[in-house]
């Protein structure tokens, strides 16, 4: 029997003293030799930065394996848990320090991302794909189901330290947000 899921509600304005924790956005320490940065800015429908958003990232390890490690909330500096949480700052900017995400053989690598914000009534899910493996990106079922102009917004942009991935909650450059089977 399928039960109706409990509906979501906005994270509101006051999560800032409750959900962040020490090193929440550092899946690996900043000084880790293989550390990369996944960062970007969250924008509203006016193109203004959203300074009270919260993002979470979930990813495979560099070998493309699912991570089954506890310890995200009290990081020991060695255990890679594959999950992190980052608040946007006064300029709407968020940043994770992490490892290059692997992929299943032949598949496109991506970060799974959850977006929460004051004013956003339910969480949004999206993907930030890793650029470079053109064959895998071309074969990806989600990317190939999108028109070119929307597809490009899901592919992260390489920069010096890693990747940039901006989130547009609304507007011409609106990010593609996802619905999965069973979402109700």
């Amino acid at each position: 029997m399928i039960r109706t899921p409990t509906p979501g509600q906005t994270v509101g304005p006051f999560f800032g003293y409750a959900l962040p924790f020490e090193a929440d956005s550092q899946l690996v320490p900043v000084g880790h030799p293989d550390a990369i940065r996944l960062h970007g800015t969250v924008f509203d429908g006016h193109g203004d930065p959203v300074s009270d958003a919260l993002l979470e990232v979930w990813q495979l390890d560099p070998d493309g394996a699912a991570v089954r490690q506890q310890g995200s909330l009290h990081r020991d500096g060695y255990t890679f848990t594959g999950w992190g949480r980052a608040s946007t700052d006064a300029t709407g900017h968020y940043a994770f320090t992490t490892l290059w995400p692997g992929a299943e053989p032949g598949k496109a690598a991506f970060f799974a991302i959850t977006v929460f914000a004051r004013g956003l009534l339910d969480r949004l899910l999206t993907r930030a794909y890793i650029p470079g493996d053109e064959a895998a990106l071309a074969a990806d079922p989600l990317l190939s189901s999108l028109p070119a102009d929307r597809r490009s917004g899901l592919v992260a942009t390489p920069d010096l330290e890693g990747f940039r991935f901006d989130v547009h909650l609304q507007g011409d450059r609106e990010t593609v947000f996802l619905r999965y089977p069973g979402d109700g």
Partner: protein, 259 residues
């Protein structure tokens, strides 16, 4: 308080206007036919949502392996004592001590075991320990209002806390939120991630609140309301509220089908 950049025109919007908007949306939904089991992202009576909701439909995706798994939390992450919000300081917090307990299951009724539940809330006076909360109600030095728990093998969670008070916000004139506890939950799949609010049965502010009513289906809205449960009440100590949580339908993998 919700410190959205509201202009004077918006700040002047009355509760009667908001209540009429809520009623109109409810009427249109009742007459509309198509069921909306999810909270509406585009619900302009919550003024801050106007520029913060996607205007395009959510795009269908079939989950990849990554999204069919979820982060793991355990004893290294959460100590049992974190589920008691009444013992985080030197003294007893002011207010009605309550037990909030329930079960987390997926859409097919399977328990979600050993998973993280986070909560945060205002104190008994309706005040958050947050620098942005300007509500002139007293801070309780013995209450922070943040807790964490892991579900047990059957998906059960349990918190001991203080009943939160309602609080004013700046969505419109004389706007008040019904008393609520914010809940954050993880499932067995990444796609089941949920942040929501738990309300208390019979709150007179329900019909006035645009956030509560952004879940437009009345039966679905009921799923956010906790019931008083005398079986959870502890003699001479705390009253009990039960609130069960259902995450979205876990998508079966071929591997699981074989088992």
């Amino acid at each position: 308080m919700d410190s959205a950049p509201v202009g004077s025109d918006m700040a002047a919007v009355s509760q009667a206007t908001i209540t009429a908007e809520i009623a109109q949306a409810a009427c249109a939904y009742a007459a509309g036919g198509a069921a909306e089991p999810r909270t509406r992202l585009d619900y302009p009576s919550y003024r801050s949502s106007v520029l913060r909701h996607p205007t395009k439909d959510l795009h269908h995706a079939d989950p990849e392996m990554l999204e069919l798994s979820a982060p793991v939390f355990g004893e290294r992450d959460v100590a049992p004592v974190e589920a008691d919000l009444t013992i985080q300081h030197g003294g007893d917090p002011i207010g009605e001590r309550i037990v909030v307990a329930g079960r987390v299951t997926d859409g097919e009724g399977r328990p979600v075991p050993r998973q993280l539940v986070e909560i945060w809330q205002a104190n008994a006076a309706g005040r958050y320990i947050h620098q942005r909360d300007q509500h002139p109600a007293p801070i309780d030095p013995n209450f922070t209002g943040v807790g964490r728990a892991l579900t047990d093998e059957e998906g059960n969670y349990r918190f001991l806390t203080i009943k939160p008070g309602p609080y004013p916000w700046r969505n419109h004139q004389n706007a008040w939120r019904p008393a609520h506890i914010h809940f954050s939950l993880f499932g067995t799949d990444f796609t089941q991630r949920l942040i929501t609010q738990m309300y208390f049965r019979g709150d007179p502010l329900f019909e006035l609140d645009p956030i509560f009513n952004s879940t437009v289906d009345p039966k679905v809205r009921e799923l956010m309301v906790a019931d008083y449960d005398h079986n959870l009440t502890q003699p001479e100590f705390a009253t009990g509220y039960r609130w069960d949580i259902v995450l979205t339908g876990h998508v079966r993998t071929p591997f699981e089908e074989e088992q």
